[in-house]
Symmetry: C2
Subunit: 222 residues, 2 copies
DNA sequence: TTGTCGTTTGTCAGTGGCTGTCACTAGCCT
DNA sequence: AGGCTAGTGACAGCCACTGACAAACGACAA
C-alpha cells in the first residue's frame, strides 16, 4: 500500500517508478500474449524477457516465477471482488453479500482489469488456466488463500471468531466451490462472453439449494 | 490390468514383478520419511534415489515427479473412498451416500494404507501437504479431478446427465469443500489422531446446513 | 546349462526454471 | 557536482526432469 494516508494518492511517481511500472506491465502483457498464443509450457521465461528486451534475471525481479505472471490478472480480479465484498452493507446476510459482491464484481470488471490488459485477453487467459494442470493447481491454492481471507472478513462482520465457529469457513468454502464449478462450466462452454459467465454465476447460485436437497429424481436440471 | 478375470488374482507375481514392487515401495517410503523429517523442498530427488541405492533416472521411471511420490498415499486414500462410495446401496440419497462413504472410509483406512506405509506416516504426510504450498496446490488439483469422477458416479446413480444438470457437480463440489475445511482444521489442530478427524468430519457435515442459513447471530458455534 | 529375447537399469548429455553474486549504470538527493 | 542506492545485466550454479543408448538381468526355451 503506497498511500495509507488521506488524500493525494499520486504526489509524483518519479521517473524511476514510472519506468518500473512500464517494465512490469510490458512483461505481463508479453507473457500473457505468448501464453495464450503458443501455450504456457511451450513459452520459456527467456522468450518473455527477450520480447521486452530485458535479461531473464530482471524478469525474476518483477515476478516470483512463471506461474505468478500467469496468474497476475486473476489475482487482480479476486482483489476486485474482495473490495466489492467489503463495500456491502453490514445488514446483509453473509451469503447474500457474497452473491451480490460477485455479480457486482462481474459488472464492473472493466474498471479493475482494463487499465493493465484488455478484458478479452483476461478471458482467454482464464480459459488457459483452466486447461493447464500446473496453472490450475496454483490457481486453486491461491483461491484457498482468498477464501481464508473472506472467511475472516465475514466472521468479523457477524461478530464471530473464525477459529471456534466453523460456519464462516464452511459457508465461504461452499460459495467458492460453486464459483469454481461456474468458472469451469463457462470455460468449457461455447459462449465466452462476459454476460455468459455473469448469467451462469446467478443461475448456479440459485441451484445450490436444490442440489443439496436429497431427491434429485423429482423435478430437475438446467 | 493384469487380472481382469474372476478369481485367483495372484497366480505368481514372478521375480521381476516382486523386485519392481519392492523398489517402488522402498522409494515411496524413503521419500515420505525424508519429506516428513527434513521438509519437502529441502529434499532432493537424488537424495531419495540414493537412500534406496538406485539412480535418479530410475526414480523417474517409477514416479512422474517429486510431487507424485509425495501424493501417492493420498491418492490411495481417495481411491479407497471412491470404492467405498461405489458400494453404497442405490436407495440412499446422494449426500447421505457421500457422508456414509467418507465416515466408513476413515473407519477402514488401515486396510487401504497400512500395507504400504504405516498409518501414522500417512497422517504426518497429510499435515505436510497442507503446509507446503506447492504440494497443497497439486493436491487441490487432483481433488478436483476426483470430484469430477464422483459427480459422474452420482449422476449415473440418479439417472442424470452431468452435462445438462448442474446439481451433481454442485453437490459434489460443496461436499468436497466441506471435506477440505475439515482436513485443514484437523491438520492445524492439536489432536492428530484418526478418531479426531473422523469426529471432525461428522461434526462439520452437520454444520453445513446451519452455515448456509442466513442468520448466524442467533445460536451458534462449534 | 546355455543362449536368446525383452525388460529394467545406469550413464550421459541436455533443457528449463530459478537463485546468488558482483560489477555497472542511471535516477535521486543534498 | 558528487555520493548514495535501486535497477540491471552477465555469469555461474542448483535442481527437476527428459531423451538416447548401452549394459545388466530375469524369463523362457532349447
Amino acid at each position: 500500500m503506497e498511500t495509507a494516508g488521506t488524500a493525494e494518492a499520486v504526489p509524483r511517481p518519479g521517473l524511476r517508478e514510472r519506468k518500473k511500472r512500464r517494465t512490469r506491465d510490458a512483461l505481463l502483457r508479453a507473457a500473457l500474449e505468448l501464453f495464450t498464443t503458443q501455450g504456457y509450457e511451450r513459452t520459456t521465461v527467456d522468450e518473455i524477457a527477450e520480447a521486452v528486451d530485458v535479461s531473464q534475471r530482471t524478469f525474476f525481479r518483477y515476478f516470483a516465477g512463471k506461474e505468478e505472471v500467469a496468474l497476475a490478472v486473476q489475482e487482480m480480479v479476486e482483489e476486485h471482488f474482495v473490495r466489492s465484498l467489503r463495500g456491502r452493507p453490514p445488514g446483509e446476510a453473509p451469503l447474500e453479500a457474497l452473491r451480490r459482491a460477485v455479480l457486482d464484481g462481474w459488472d464492473t470488471i472493466n474498471e479493475a482489469v482494463a487499465s493493465v490488459v484488455p478484458v478479452e485477453l483476461y478471458l482467454r487467459m482464464f480459459r488457459l488456466i483452466e486447461s493447464t494442470p500446473v496453472l490450475l493447481a496454483a490457481h486453486l491454492r491461491r483461491s484457498a488463500e482468498t477464501e481464508e481471507e473472506i472467511a475472516r472478513l465475514l466472521a468479523a462482520r457477524e461478530g464471530l471468531d473464525v477459529d471456534t465457529d466453523p460456519r464462516p469457513r464452511l459457508a465461504v468454502a461452499v460459495f467458492g466451490a460453486v464459483m469454481r464449478v461456474t468458472g469451469r462450466q463457462w470455460s468449457t462452454g461455447e459462449d465466452f462472453s462476459l454476460e455468459a459467465i455473469r448469467a451462469l454465476t446467478a443461475a448456479y447460485l440459485d441451484q445450490v439449494g436444490p442440489a443439496l436437497t436429497g431427491n434429485w429424481r423429482t423435478s430437475g436440471g438446467s
